[in-house]
């Protein structure tokens, strides 16, 4: 933080600190520092400065009075600063936009409470919120029944039974999971849970959960199951995953935007060469078919051949005069694989 930013934040912080200390008697320096997002040293400097401030006259009875006992602070006399300053329009909007965004997700949290908070905030800001907010957020809203069940599973720490449509491959599975948390990331809601079928921690995209039932069994994830750090994104390619090189024509180059690529290189002919890792070649086969000739698999050659075979097999079905019943087993599907979130979580 620059020196200017640090100092222009100080005055509003001090004006809030006085009434805040009034409503938090006996708070410690460390607690106050955390609430105000500053170092404990900075907070001590702030309190020392407040000691010097007061009403005109400057006699002891005119000054802001604060008492210390060890690490604890108690405000004895705030003088006229017993109430905080009104919310600015920006402050009010930062909260109101967030409240509105959460209200749009049925089943996530108590809608009625959010509506009441919204009313109270609008009153507190005093009608100065803009008609067109600078920022708005459209959150994903999965099926309300599923969201309610996921919330209950997490809150009450109970096992869930899921019917789940796989992300990387087209396959519906049933599984029992012990939920750890419900988390919004990259625009989607995910349930992070220990999966008894995969015997590992998994992320399940909420909008692909076809059915969720709260079981009468307490959740018992193994101690090793701790939530993943999702700060760097959901999909972390690992070296053991298949490395695929694709050639993308302009109409398919969005792929490089959506999925983490090991490299991207714009060729002189306008095509984009990308390399990405995938836990499941079925996902690449389907992606390249869907890109309808605007993408080609370069490496591995075997995968390129598989895509060609699938296209030929599909064309052959159309060429038979009467559409016959397709064969019983699907060449698109290989051996069932453990669920992994697909890269970027947006295909399909």
């Amino acid at each position: 933080m620059s020196a200017t930013a640090a100092s222009t934040e100080r005055l509003p912080r001090l004006l809030s600190l006085v009434p805040w200390l009034r409503t938090h008697p006996g708070v410690t320096f460390a607690e106050a520092a955390e609430a105000f997002g500053v170092s404990e040293r900075q907070l001590r400097a702030d309190v020392s400065l407040l000691f010097l401030c007061g009403l005109p006259g400057g006699s002891p009875g005119d000054l802001i009075d604060i008492d210390f006992e060890g690490d604890h602070i108690t405000l004895l006399d705030p003088q006229v600063l017993d109430r905080p300053l009104r919310l600015t329009a920006d402050e009010g909007n930062a909260l109101l936009v967030a409240v509105r965004a959460l209200s749009d997700v049925p089943g996530l949290t108590d809608r009625d409470a959010l509506d009441r908070v919204r009313g109270k905030l609008e009153t507190a800001v005093g009608g100065s919120t803009e008609e067109q907010p600078a920022v708005s957020v459209a959150l994903e809203a999965p099926a309300p029944d599923a969201m309610l069940a996921l919330r209950r599973g997490v809150d009450e720490q109970r096992r869930l039974h899921l019917r789940y449509l796989g992300a990387a491959r087209d396959e519906v599975t049933e599984r029992d999971v012990d939920p750890l948390r419900l988390v919004l990331t990259d625009g989607h809601w995910y349930l992070e849970a220990y999966c008894h079928r995969a015997e590992a921690l998994r992320l399940f995209r909420a909008d692909r959960i076809q059915e969720a039932n709260v079981l009468d069994v307490p959740a018992a994830p193994p101690p090793s199951a701790v939530p993943r750090d999702l700060a760097d994104g959901l999909f972390k390619p690992t070296p053991d995953q298949l490395l695929v090189e694709l050639e993308l024509e302009p109409g398919a180059q969005w792929v490089a935007d959506y999925y983490p690529c090991e490299f991207t290189r714009l060729e002189p002919d306008g095509t984009l060469r990308v390399a990405l890792r995938t836990p499941d070649p079925a996902w690449i086969r389907s992606l390249v078919l869907r890109l309808a000739g605007r993408a080609r698999v370069i490496v591995p050659a075997q995968l390129a051949g598989e895509v060609q075979q699938l296209a030929s097999a599909a064309i052959a079905q159309y060429e038979t005069a009467e559409p016959s019943s397709p064969p019983e087993s699907s060449p698109l599907r290989g051996a069932p694989a453990a669920h992994k979130p697909e890269p970027g979580g947006t295909a399909g």
Binding site: L49, A94, G293
Partner: protein
């Protein structure tokens, strides 16, 4: 802001709040520690300039500084005061369920600017006794903002400043664009800005992650107004809104045990679970999606859709 200045501004605020009448500049100079209204070198000029700057600073923080005649009968001398009722956050209290809802909302932002703004609002509410609760364990809702264009665009939207940036439109090269930004929208995990595109002279939406260079202001603050009735959120999210008049049905045979996503979109035949009627709108996107299923699906009707899928599969087979 130096230590002495912060102290002076707090004392000035308190003096203006404590008074029951308008105080003149000179009175404030004598009452508030840190001013020297009688400095002989400049004849009080330095003090007056300092007071002007202080006054502006308080107003920028949103402190309502009122001006009025010092003497109601002879109203030529102007004084200053702060009405307590204008300054103070109105009474507000939260029930426990409201405090929990607010706690969740306050943590939604992960951008420095927005989370800082939300936090200062939360501190004011807590100072008024309306303390938000930490959200329940196991529920984490955060909207990320790691695009470098976010903060400069937010500043520009708030200040109503025109901006220019280099933009890589999908399937074409990079071009310099000029925009009057109206608002930022997060949708499906990505940030967009909507506004009036000065090059096209029309409303346009841009994705922040496709801005390839820095966002530079091109005008002063307040250089345009947002037209009434504009809904930036709808501009962004309507890109895939389908026209119900275009709705059609496709009859599709699917291989047993496959095409689960497609089955969710359609209705299976009563006597044959692998014969589906699937509604669709735009031909192009739907044909792409069906091609992605390869030999797992066979389009029976309509003929045009069937042909579009075959064309796509042939394009895959032909390579380039």
């Amino acid at each position: 802001m130096a230590h002495a200045k912060t102290e002076r501004l707090i004392n000035l605020t308190m003096a203006l709040m404590a008074t029951s009448r308008f105080l003149t500049v000179l009175e404030l100079g004598r009452l508030v520690d840190g001013y020297d209204p009688d400095d002989s070198a400049t004849g009080g000029e330095a003090f007056r300039r300092m007071f002007e700057r202080d006054k502006e600073e308080l107003r920028e923080l949103g402190i309502p500084l009122h001006t009025g005649p010092v003497d109601p009968l002879y109203g030529d001398e102007i004084g200053y005061r702060i009405h307590r009722s204008d300054y103070a956050l109105p009474e507000i209290s939260l029930d426990p369920d409201e405090a929990a809802a607010l706690g969740l909302a306050a943590r939604l932002w992960s951008s420095a600017h927005l989370s800082g703004t939300a936090s200062s609002a939360i501190r004011k509410l807590a100072a008024a006794g309306a303390e938000p609760l930490a959200p329940p364990a196991g529920l984490e809702a955060r909207v990320g903002t790691n695009e470098p264009a976010f903060e400069p665009l937010l500043d520009a939207v708030i200040a109503r400043q025109e901006v220019t940036f280099d933009y890589q439109a999908p399937g074409s090269g990079t071009a310099r664009r000029t925009l009057q930004p109206w608002g930022l929208v997060s949708w499906r995990g990505r940030w967009y800005v909507g506004g009036h595109d000065l090059d096209r002279d029309a409303p346009r939406v841009f994705r922040l992650s496709r801005m390839t260079g820095p966002v530079a202001p091109r005008s002063g603050a307040g250089s345009y107004t947002v037209p009434p009735g504009v809904d930036v959120r709808a501009m962004v999210t309507s890109t895939d809104r389908d026209d119900p008049r275009e709705r059609r049905l496709a009859r599709i045979r699917v291989r047993p045990g496959t095409a689960h996503r497609l089955r969710l979109q359609g209705q299976a035949d009563e006597s044959d679970p692998d014969l589906l009627d699937v509604p669709f709108y735009a031909h192009e996107g739907f044909a792409d999606m069906l091609a992605g299923y390869g030999p797992d699906v066979l389009v029976l009707e309509p003929t045009a859709l069937r042909q579009a899928v075959v064309d796509r599969l042939r394009a895959v087979g032909a390579g380039r």
